[in-house]
Amino acid sequence: MWAFIHKLGSPKWFYTISAKLQPWFWAAAAALIVTGTVWGLAFAPADYQQGNSFRIIYIHVPAAFLAQSAFVSMAAAGLVFMVWKIKVADMAATVIAPFGAAMTFVALFSGAVWGVPTWGTWWMWDARLTSMLILLFLYLGVIALRGAFSSRDSGARAASVLAMVGVINIPVIKYSVDWWYTLHQPATFSVTSSPAMPMSMWLPLLIMVLGFYSFFTALTLMRTRSEILRRESRKRWVRELVRETR
């Protein structure tokens, strides 16, 4: 177990293994997102109340899931970095932050656009909406904090601490729709009960969610690899690798 963790923490080992995994995640992401897009936009039935604006769910829910999962993975990477000093974890945390922020923005934007025909307003200080906005600010805070130090290690530690503290916001987002039932509807998917919508509606949604997760994994692998090259550029194996790359 320990040997495995340390192996995983070795940039060279991570670089090699991620090269093998990466294409599979890209292929899965492309196949799932294309299928889910065509299905969700053109073939899934329209909602009997919301009509076709309902189709926004196929991007809104996956983006919101990713926004939160990316934050949790960033905090987990921060913890691993702080406890075991594994540099690759910090590199992953570095590249996860901007994508997580982008997905939070996408969830907020698609939600606002969806709100206009559905709720008659694009924004309200509803608990779910507000906690998602806080998530966006947390992401921006983590990115800014990392850049605010002249020493990379200090920036990495500060960003890790903020991510670990900010993770408190995640359960708040999750339970906000139950604790303060104001505007946003409760969860679509749950582990304990079957979805309230027909399969023709939730299956393309599930496909999109899986597609977004594959995309996130592929992108994180790819950018962590670049981050490894950047930070380890003085190492012999990186220099040899760069020389061999066209």
Binding site: N52, I56, S110, V113, S233
Partner: protein, 75 residues
């Protein structure tokens, strides 16, 4: 199938501005992420190659000068 024609599909039952703007922004961010990651990797490798060449020229300035006709090179 919920749509009778392509025009019907594009109109989204009157919800076109909402559906297409939300989807447009999302797909833009996904594609931009891929584009950025590719560009980042290409430029990084290009930069590292350039640095490698520059440092090699520095390590062996005499050979380099001899090959280049004895002129002074500023890397």
């Amino acid at each position: 199938m919920p749509f009778a024609s392509v025009a019907d599909f594009l109109a989204m039952g009157g919800h076109a501005p909402y559906v297409w703007s939300a989807w447009g922004v999302t797909l833009f961010f996904l594609l931009a992420s891929v584009w950025h990651a590719r560009l980042e990797r290409r430029q990084l490798i290009k930069g590292l190659k350039r640095r490698e060449r520059r440092e090699q020229a520095h390590r062996a300035p005499h050979q380099d000068n001899a090959a280049g006709g004895g002129g002074h090179h500023d890397a």
